[in-house]
Structure formats: structure tokens, C-alpha cells
Symmetry: none
Subunit: 202 residues, 4 copies
């Protein structure tokens, strides 16, 4: 039985690796050339597999695109959490501002990522059609933050909505202020945004 398991795993591993290759390849190309200028051929060439293989793992370009958006948004939050944990911030207020700060800086340093995620940051933690393998983790982030917010302000009866608004506000305003400096550049905007976030959780 062990033997059987191992063999299954070997094949499964191989498949997972191909899938990961395709995802990584697509991500690189989407970041470099944009989604519209990236073809399935580009993705498979770059991943070192045949064109037909793509269709064994994904439905079409938009399928892989969606999965990547979710994955990358999630990873951003994950990194941000690690960041605030490492910093040792305790109060929810400090922690949520840490997270915002981390994400904003990530976007400033990687504008391609910002363009890619666009205004869809919230997909990282609010998405019901989650990829199976990540489902557990994804839910965790949302639940962790909501629980912390609840503890921080036990009068707030709209914890979900508040968190949702904060994330959407960060995501949608970053897009304009970082990429177009509209209506004002990010460094001028950040304190105003942070002030607003503080008001939201109080």
C-alpha cells in the first residue's frame, strides 16, 4: 500500500509540477508583456511544455489569469501578515496599518504587480470559488483579521463589511495614486488614507 501511495504521489507530483510551471510561466509573461499580449503559446513555450498540455490543466487564458490574481493577492496578504508579526505589533490598529503599509510599498516597488492585480486585491481574501488547495489558508487570513478586529472594537457589529471596505479602499485608491498620481501622489495620500482607516475601525 505504501508502494502504491508513493507511485500515485510520483505521478501527482509530476502533474502538480507541470501546473506550477504553467502558472509561473503565465505570471512572468503577464507581468512582462501584459495579458493581452501573452498567448497560450507564449505560456507553454516558456513553461517548456507542448501547447496541448495547457488544456489539460486550464480551461483558457482567463482561467489561469483568475487563478493567478487570487494567488498573488493572497500571497501579498500572507507576506504582509508575516511582516506585522515580525514587527511585533500588538494592537489591531497597528497591525492593519502595517498590512496597508506593506501592500502599498510592495505596489510602489513593483508597479507591474499593481497593474496586474489592479483593483482586484480583495480577491485575495474574498473569493468563494477558491482554488481547492489554498482554500484553507485563504479563509484563515480573513478570519484572523476579522477576529482581531472584533476583539479590538467589540462595538463594531459590521466587522466583515469594515474589513472589506478597508481593503477595497486601499486597493482602488492605490491604483490611481501610485500609477497616475491622481488626484495626488501616494506619499501625500498615505497619511490621509491611514487616518481614514483609523476612523473606520474605531
Amino acid at each position: 500500500m505504501d508502494n502504491f501511495d508513493t507511485e500515485m504521489t510520483k505521478i501527482e507530483e509530476n502533474k502538480l509540477e507541470k501546473r506550477e510551471n504553467l502558472l509561473a510561466s503565465a505570471y512572468n509573461l503577464f507581468m512582462r508583456k501584459g495579458i493581452h499580449n501573452t498567448s497560450i503559446s507564449d505560456i507553454t513555450d516558456n513553461a517548456g511544455v507542448a501547447k496541448g498540455t495547457f488544456y489539460l490543466y486550464f480551461i483558457d487564458k482567463w482561467d489561469i489569469y483568475e487563478k493567478l490574481i487570487i494567488e498573488r493577492s493572497y500571497l501579498l496578504f500572507d507576506e504582509a501578515l508575516i511582516y506585522t508579526n515580525n514587527k511585533g505589533s500588538r494592537s489591531f490598529k497597528d497591525r492593519i496599518l502595517d498590512i496597508a503599509d506593506y501592500i502599498i510599498n510592495a505596489f510602489i516597488e513593483n508597479k507591474e504587480l499593481l497593474k496586474f492585480i489592479g483593483r482586484n486585491l480583495s480577491l485575495g481574501i474574498y473569493n468563494d470559488s477558491l482554488v481547492d488547495e489554498y482554500q484553507e489558508q485563504y479563509k484563515n487570513i480573513k478570519e484572523i483579521l476579522e477576529k482581531e478586529l472584533k476583539t479590538y472594537n467589540n462595538k463594531n457589529r459590521h466587522v466583515s463589511a469594515t474589513l472589506f471596505m478597508i481593503i477595497e479602499l486601499i486597493s482602488s485608491t492605490c491604483y490611481d495614486t501610485i500609477l497616475n498620481e491622481t488626484p495626488l501622489p501616494i506619499d501625500k495620500y498615505k497619511p490621509i488614507l491611514f487616518n481614514e482607516i483609523k476612523k473606520m475601525i474605531k
Copy 2:
């Protein structure tokens, strides 16, 4: 001289009409079939002009798309302003909530419009590369609202940013709550949003 003017106008009028036809045609098709499923041919067929004519007025599909987004976002604000004017609301607080209300209802009733404008509502009033012909009006709406906000709360030193945040918050959260009921349906979400807006302008 009158004669000269009239003759000029005749050709110019004709051109403007063609342009409007193309915009209207594209808008209808984008709403019905989506942008990806609409071809230049579709647009010109529907507008009753030759395919080549399209390229006399627009660069490509994304050019006309961008112009439509800006136009339709602007029109939405314009209608909302008329709505609050007709209602006779005086205080800025009431007026901004009227506007939010109008826009949200418009989106609820016309989900295709919501999908079309997406999270880009702010383009309606924040856009530097404005189409010349609308430039004056566009600026007006932004300036009117900023002036009103300033009068309403003369302690607020970030009038532009506040208005920007309000609009982005409405736009980005409507998208999810109306189309996906995520993280909660719009009727549950609206009072929370309105409450937040009130806090923002205070």
C-alpha cells in the same frame, strides 16, 4: 461670413454625427455582448458606416472603450447631480448621499452598466486626458462637489482626497456587493457604507 460658418458646420456636423453614431453603437454592443465579444466590424455595421470609417475617429477598440467609460461615468454623476438638485437637498451630507444613492440604484437597475464601468467610476470626474468637448463640464462636477465639501466642513484640509476616497469606495464596493453579494448583499451593505461616508466628510 455666416455663409462660411454654415458651410463649415455642415461637414463638421456630419463628422460629429458619425462619431456619435460610433460611440452609441459601441456602447450598445459593449453592454449587450461585452467588450471581448464585440469586434470593430460589429461596431461599424451597427453604426451604419464602413469599417474603415472607424479608424478616422478612433485609434482602436480600447480607445473608444476608454472614451465611453469616461463619458458614461460622467453622465452618471451628471444625472445624480440633477437628482439631488430636484430633490432640493441643501446640506452637503444629504447631497453626497443622494448622489451615492442615485448611482447605487442605477447600478442595481442596470447591472450591465456596472459591469461596463467596473471599478472605474472615478474616471468620470478624475481624468486629465479628458475628451476636449466635455472638458468644461467634467471639471465642473468635481469643482462643484469639492467647493460644497469645503463649505460644509471648513476644517477638512484634504477635500480632493476625501471626495476621491468616497467615490472609489462606492465604486469598488458596489461591484462586489451588487454583482456577487460579497461579502454581503447591497441592501445590507448600503447603510454601513452611508455611515462611513458620513464619517468621512465630518
Copy 3:
């Protein structure tokens, strides 16, 4: 191993056949309608393959055109060599005049071929970016003739240049004399040309 070889060949054969079909189809159309009036669609329709297939084998119309020019020029020399071999001419002088004669007659009888090859006859034997498959043969003709010229006149130290001049002279003057009878018709011109060639190799 044989089995493996055969299987490889099956696919490869198929591809080679497609390529040949396309070349033949293009050649026929170029001769009948001219290059400017022949579209890729025409070529693929005539070859019985899909339009996209063309682009698996050639870059564009000018790519296949160039390859055909080279191929057809080469074939002309090849036939001319066979002709003089069959005639049993021994001296280089007789052989080179045989070749000139054969080519001129071929052009007189097939004016479309003359128009097609134009003044580019020399591409048949002077071309460094040769199609791989023909490379060997192409080089042979040039080398055979240069070697024969060297043997015929061991004082000539510019064998390559002499042969090159002869071929260019035939090619470029045939064009005008055969197609336009300018400055005189081919039958009047031929003895003069032959006389000149004799002088050149002496």
C-alpha cells in the same frame, strides 16, 4: 530502430510534402498572376491547406518568393548542365555557350519564367543563405564551372568574377532583349553576346 526511423519519417514526410505543395502552388500562381496579384490565401487554397499552415513553413510572401527564385534559378542551371552533358560538348567554351543557349531558349519559350526570375538569375548559384537541403548541389554547379574555367584558361586569375560577370550579363540583357526587344531583338543580340562571352573567358 527501423521502426522508430520509419515513424519519424512519416511525420517528416508529411511536412515535406506540405512544404512542396506550398512551393509548387506559389510558383504556379506567381507565374500566372504575378506576385503582386497573388495572396497568401490564393497560395494555400491552391495547395489545399489552411491559411495558417502557410505560416508554419514560411515567414511571408517574400520568403517563399525568394526561395522559389533561388530554386528555379538553380533548376535552370541544372537543366542546362544536363543539356550540355548530353550534347557531349567538351571544351569549356562550348559548354558555357551551351548553357547560355539553353537558358536563353528557356526564357524565350517561357517568358513568365523570365519575368519571374527577372535579373536575379545569379541567385541560382551565388547565394550564401542557401536553403539547407539544396546547399550541396548549389555549391556544386558553381564549383564545377569555376573548375572547368580554371582548366580551360589557367592564366585567368579571376575565375569567380569572370563567371559572375558572364551570368549577370546573360541575365540582365536577356530581360530587355527578350521582353522589350530593347535595344535590339534577342536573335540579333545573341551572336553579339556569345562573342562577348568568348572574349571574357579568353
Copy 4:
């Protein structure tokens, strides 16, 4: 009558100027971008006239192209003649080598011109469908040279053909030696060519 004549001339002058503008514009563009990448619009834009105006003077792109080839080839011979006249060369041998030298140097210094004229140099002096206005001059060059050759070598009974061969040989071999250094570079080739020309006129 004078008055009438003058007015006619004014209009005629205007038309001639437009025509010249179009020719000059087309020549510039053909040289810069190649013929295939130059459109009628490009030509008229660059000439500062409306698109429709082109069709008042020329049939299509190939019409103006042909006229330019002839004009430019002719001008090259004209310049070459002036050059040898200025040098004071008397014998036909020296004069024809001067001409060859001038043309070759012109091609070396202006490879675009060489590409443009291609192997069609002879059109400059051998062309029956001459543009009316130049007809006189064109014929002159050919006649001058043929007369000189006749005087130089009164035994040569094929003056026309000899001159024709010389020009074609220069034109067609320059193309390969200057642009591709095939089969040898122009500086190595020139003495061989000159030697051959000397043999031809003797």
C-alpha cells in the same frame, strides 16, 4: 496675346510645381522607407497636397515609381557626363571608365539609391516610353555615347549593343558586389570590371 500666354504659364507652372513636389516627395519616401512601405497618403502628406490630387498627376504608385527610376537613372548619367567633361578626358575609353567610376562611387556613397535603381540603371538611357519632357535630353546621352564609341572604334558594328552590355554589366554586378560583397567586394571587383569594359570597346 502675351497676357494670355502669361496667365496660361502661371497655371501651368503651378501644376508643374505640384507634380515636381509629388515626385520629390515620393523619391524621398521611397529612399527612406522603401516602396512597399510608402503609401499614396505618405506621398501626398509629404508633398503638402490632398490625397485626391495625386490622381490628377499619376495613375498609381507604380506609375510614379517608374518615372522616378527613369529620372534618377538619367540624372546619374548626366552627372557622370559632366564629371568626365570637367576632368577633360578625351579618349572614349577614358570617358566611359570615368562614367563607370562616377556611377559606382555614387552607388557606394548612396546605397539607398542603388537599392532603388536596382538593376534598372539602363532605363536611364534605354527607354522608349519616355516621359515627354525629358525625351530630348535622354536620347542625347545615348546618342552622344554611341557616336563617341563609333568614332573611337570604327570597326565595331554593334555600337548600340556594346554600350547596352557595358551598362547592364555595371548595373547588375554593382548590385551584388556593393550590397552583398558577392562574389567579391567592389574594390576588388572594380579593376576586373574595368578591364572587361576595355576589352568590350576594343
